[in-house]
Symmetry: C2
Subunit: 188 residues, 2 copies
Amino acid sequence: MGRWEPDARERLVRAALDLFGEQGYDNTAVAQIAERAGLTKSTFFRHFRDKREVLFGGQDQLAEVLTTGIACAPEQAEPLAAVEAALVAVGTWFTDEHRAHGPQRQAVIEDHLELRERSALKMVGFGVAMKDALERRGVAELAAAVAAELGVLAFERAYGTWVTTTGDWSDVVRRSVAEVRTAAATLG
Amino acid sequence: MGRWEPDARERLVRAALDLFGEQGYDNTAVAQIAERAGLTKSTFFRHFRDKREVLFGGQDQLAEVLTTGIACAPEQAEPLAAVEAALVAVGTWFTDEHRAHGPQRQAVIEDHLELRERSALKMVGFGVAMKDALERRGVAELAAAVAAELGVLAFERAYGTWVTTTGDWSDVVRRSVAEVRTAAATLG
DNA sequence: AAGGTGATGGGACTTGGTCTCATCAACCGT
DNA sequence: ACGGTTGATGAGACCAAGTCCCATCACCTT
């Protein structure tokens, strides 16, 4: 295991969040993050692809959750229903710590272009994951793309309200999907 | 104007595209691009925010085209119709050179994560631009978000087929919007 | 006790990106 | 024609991100 203390990855995340809050994202060097976590720059880059990723770590698992969530949805469920099921399933992945650090994490991301960029990429990844999963269910390519895109939109909106309220994730996300669905239906 | 030759920006773009094609994106240093263009690293970064941006330069204008395109759409046009009008208007911005370099540009972007990341950010920007423009027309926030998102989807699909065929942009994009619209309508 | 494994430390190295100052061409008014 | 202004460029120092390679140490297995 670790050469000294365990949980190196989590220590790095916590150190990064703290330092970003204290002195800002740009004024914080990777070496400094590692130092506070009792590690070194080398180790940081073994755990995270780059400096940005420390704020998005683990979101790759989320794509898997979405994929299996759609795959395991009831067979007769229409595309958006399957998407909704998958988004609800994400709730089991959201930890309390996630919700606690949520706002401050979002704040850092909001005012740094390179972080919004990474966020955008993650969202695209979610969309692709959902689209592929839908197609594996037999949904037509175009319909899958549209449903996935609307799913991403619903997810973003749900997450935004979830981190700023006390509501239950499943409630929030179901409401969000319903809103997006009716909006899409009453569009053309 | 320029100290020596004019069109420094375009020369940089061309040099970058050539070098990326010859030796790959990662193996090409900014200094090298600048050198081939008869300039220096300093000048490169005066024209482009970073190395990636040389492949996406000018897309900020495109956001403006979308914004004004939506603003100038017929008043009684529903959201997606306004979006369609804006997307069609983009055709006047697409140059022949754009279409010529399109495929090779896309190829470079496709297999470099950092470039797909930048692309994703641009798309988000287009979405925001369209959403804001729609809201300024009085469209409800949610409906604007949905229409904008579907617009981005239609745009991406249209661009993908446009660069690989010989069709007219307005034809391609109108068809794409129509497809997305019916797909969205027959979803829930 | 000996060897293997996996994570870490450490440091050299490349390059993206910033910053500052000097330079030079074109423009403008006199 | 002359001198000052403007704007883009050149040059180089500088910092931090990210890569690479190898030594090191804890832990586990045999």
